[in-house]
């Protein structure tokens, strides 16, 4: 493997002195992988993403993207390298899908520039990838939850970043739409993107991810391939619940069955 897409060195972050969220986190995300971030509520999964995008500034430690420290990058530069899809939220601003996706081109536009040909092509491609061509003139409030999620994903794709980070992209979706979205992410990974997603469903994570990062109380408890991370011992230690791990009958990946 070449250079990792993301490497995090001794990252610490706290909202206040008494409330450390992440403590001395070091990890690497392999370029071109689909990596899942797992862990119980409050383990620091979302915070880790917000640190990667520099929405929060780390107290100590460093984050390298493509071998460069994010400290020295401007907001624009960073947003051309890593595109983030936040947790599901309703927007009060009711613009069309195309207008939303076009905002993904902001990192490439100056104040006076009009939409360039490259912008238009990127928007068109992102709409196509998101399966949104028929919906492009609809406004966000008229979309279903799954459609809205794909619209937000398409906006991130228009950023043309090599890393796509998503915070619980499948929450609030039914299983059909969860599968659709993860399949779409897998397709994007196959096209060369590095996909990093905070996920809650261990079995879906095992089905789609190659690598996993398991967080516990603000620290990395385990990282590696799905087979290495998703073990009964790790689940017992991190989630404090008993489980047995078996092989998926069709796909052969580990699956978790909880025990009473």
């Amino acid at each position: 493997m070449s250079q990792p897409a993301i490497s995090v060195h001794n990252l610490s972050f706290a909202y206040s002195v008494t409330e450390p969220v992440l403590t001395d986190v070091s990890l690497q995300v392999i370029s071109g992988s689909f990596t899942g971030i797992l862990g119980p509520n409050g383990a620091g999964k979302s915070t880790l993403l917000k640190l990667l995008s520099r929405w929060y500034k780390p107290d100590s430690g460093d984050i390298m993207i493509g071998g460069e420290s994010t400290k020295s990058m401007s907001h624009r530069e960073l947003s051309r390298r890593i595109a983030v899809v936040e947790q599901e939220q309703r927007f009060a601003t009711d613009i069309t899908v195309r207008e939303l996706v076009a905002l993904g081109r902001l990192p490439y536009q100056s104040l006076l520039s009009e939409e360039s040909e490259a912008d238009r092509q990127a928007v068109e491609l992102s709409l196509t990838q998101g399966g949104l061509l028929d919906l492009s003139e609809r406004t966000l409030s008229t979309l279903s939850g799954g459609e809205r999620q794909r619209a937000r994903l398409a906006m991130a794709l228009a950023q043309d970043a090599s890393i796509l980070a998503l915070d619980e992209p499948t929450t609030h979706l039914d299983i059909r739409h969860q599968l659709d979205l993860l399949t779409l992410l897998e397709t994007l990974r196959a096209q060369g993107l590095t996909v990093l997603a905070v996920l809650h469903d261990l079995n879906l994570a095992a089905l789609f991810c190659e690598d996993l990062i398991l967080l516990k109380e603000g620290q990395v408890y385990a990282t590696g391939t799905v087979d290495q991370v998703l073990t009964a011992e790790n689940i017992a230690a991190v989630y404090d619940c008993r489980a047995t791990v078996y092989r998926h009958p069709i796909h052969g990946v580990p699956q978790v069955a909880l025990l009473r």
């Binding site: 927007f91 902001l106 104040l111 406004t139």
Partner: protein, 339 residues
Amino acid sequence: MEIKKPLRVMPLLWTLLLAMLIISMANGAVSIPVSRIWAALSEVISSPRAEWSSEATILWRLRIPRALLAAVVGAGLATAGAVLQGLLRNGLADSYVLGVSSGASLGAALAMLMGLRLSFFGLGSVTPAAFVGATLTLFVVVFIARRMTGNSTLGLLLAGIAMSSFLSAIVSLLVFFSRERIQPIVFWTMGGFGARSWNHLIAVAPYIFVGYSVAFLLNRQLTAISLGDETAHHLGVNVPSTRLVLLGASALLTAAAVSVSGVIGFVGLMIPHMARMVSSHNYRRLLPASAVLGATFLVAADLIARVIVKPAELPVGIITALCGGPFFIYLLSKRRREI
């Protein structure tokens, strides 16, 4: 290429504004038939001032500058409201509701009282003083709402109402103690476009132009921020500095409007909502639509204020408040859940 429907709204809005300007020029204490406006205008261009008919004089000296001033102020107030609503992600935000207009009027009143005739760019000191008042008020209100009330809609409104009452009380005090000395201030605090001339228009238009241009240049950033600060950040927008510039632009627009025509409420509250209905939530289209609709609305409100009790005049703020008050309550009822 397909034609995007909302883009075609603008010619319609411009036509509406033009029609309203002509109606406004034709009506008043003396009616001038629309058919004679053109003749009177060509008289203004072709003959020396001493030979003008009374119609030409009324049009050129009174009606035209007054209508244009109402249009410019309306555009400015509506733009300021649209910007504030997007920045604060709050459809109830507006320079009047947030007390920014009162802050501007305090600044302007102080400048008038102290007779600060120091010239800034040859435009007098009233607008700059109003800008200082507006900016300080805006930052205090936003700070109180964000830091002390957890940025709730209710907190923002209450902070605005408190500041607004407090500052208007100070303005009233100033006016009370200076009544004999300075008549124009009393006149000005009532709000309106009576006895305004080309000089007022020339003094205020550049500020409105600058404020609007800043907002429009940042239209994409503004749309992004209206979706959420974090979303905007992920799109590479420097949220704190962009917000600062846009708050400054809305303070400038408010200050310019207030320094020339006093406090006129609710334009910035109502017009952006109407603009969203006929045009779009996307600021690239919302800003021009708001500006032109705001101009049309205030020209119409001023016309009503002039003709409804002619030959006397109502302060135009009464007309805008009569429309705006019920509209504000309607918006409140729509957002009940959130508050």
